[in-house]
Amino acid sequence: MLETVVENSQATTIMFDFPDWPGFLAGQHVDVRLTAQDGYQAQRSYSISSAPEDEHVAITVERLDDGEVSPFLTGELRVGDELEMRGPIGGYFVWQDTDGGPVQLVAGGSGVAPLRSILRHHRAIASTVPMRLLCSARSLELLLYRDELTSPVDDHVEITLTLTRDQPPDWAGYGRRVDRDMLVEAAWAPAHQPLCYVCGPTPFVETVAGTLVDLGYDPGRIRTERFGGTGT
């Protein structure tokens, strides 16, 4: 492990280097396996939140107080420590320039991690594929990658945020959970046949994906990745 960046009071991004790392596609993940001295093992999957072009491989871990793995990764892990990891993994929830667009990304909470990889990759290769992100977080404080997502520099990227629990006093954006009206307003219209990526906790993904299908988006162009409560 190389370095950590504290994202907010609940989450930390951790950077690694791996010997013989083959590179990866934006959207892929790694499996982390921890082994205690008595042989006890725990395993979790984490999306890679960095771009393939970034110098180090990053994962973002949300700390759950009664979690088994996250308190260790966010609290105990030190620079120089080694972790057993398997990856990169996944060939479905990935985006490359050749996949084209327009692209509609929809993120719920920590589900923004793989989508951030896609956004950073898009920027790093100077892609001209039009891309939109609709990102849901409970508050600005809990929004991951806040600086990146609140000050985009890319002409081809449009980011819409919704803060579902607390909004700052001068907030002009959405303040509720992603719903049908919000998708109609903020997302690429179905007529554009966007390639959609929806990521977050299972109930979020089910609701959003279901709504997209109801709105007439092509189910074959909706890719989903569900995060479990066991991401602790």
Partner: protein, 199 residues
Amino acid sequence: MAITRGFHGRRVDADPARVPPGQYVTEGFPVLSAGPTQHTHTDAWTFTIRGEVDEPLTWTWPQFQALPHETVTVDIHCVTKWSKLGTAWTGVALDTLLDGVQTSADYVLAFSDGGYTTNLPLQDLRDGQAWVAYEYDGEALEPEHGGPARLLVPHLYFWKSAKWVRGLELRAHDEPGFWERYGYHNYGDPWKEQRYDGD
């Protein structure tokens, strides 16, 4: 196997005499499942003993609640290596349900909503070894932990304590249940570490 410096997991210390080989004690109550959580309303719930019996026996929820019940505190051991000590359950003893049931069967296949099954020797359900439990820790058993009622057979690995249980099929011949078909041990004694077929 590389040891991860500083990682301890969420285990707690316990009296080793109560912990079968290869198990780790937890204070949480992990939810493990082979399928979607079943939500059966007690209005629709029945428990049936069928198979090698003269006539099937069925209880509705109110009838079941009227049976003698007891609260027991037991240790439970999951084949995935976690153990939880001192868990309190309230339910009807299988001895009560089997009282007066004439059968030549030696085996049982327990069946549940959602299609889950598990098999045991009939003998392992008798003599104070098993219950159909509908309360955990003094509260109604939640669906994610097997409510309205689950089988409770603490002397075997916990996959034998079928969640969402709806009845027992008494059988002359043993029939492997869900996990037993996929390579888990037919009997499952945690003290002999009988996790897999052939152990």
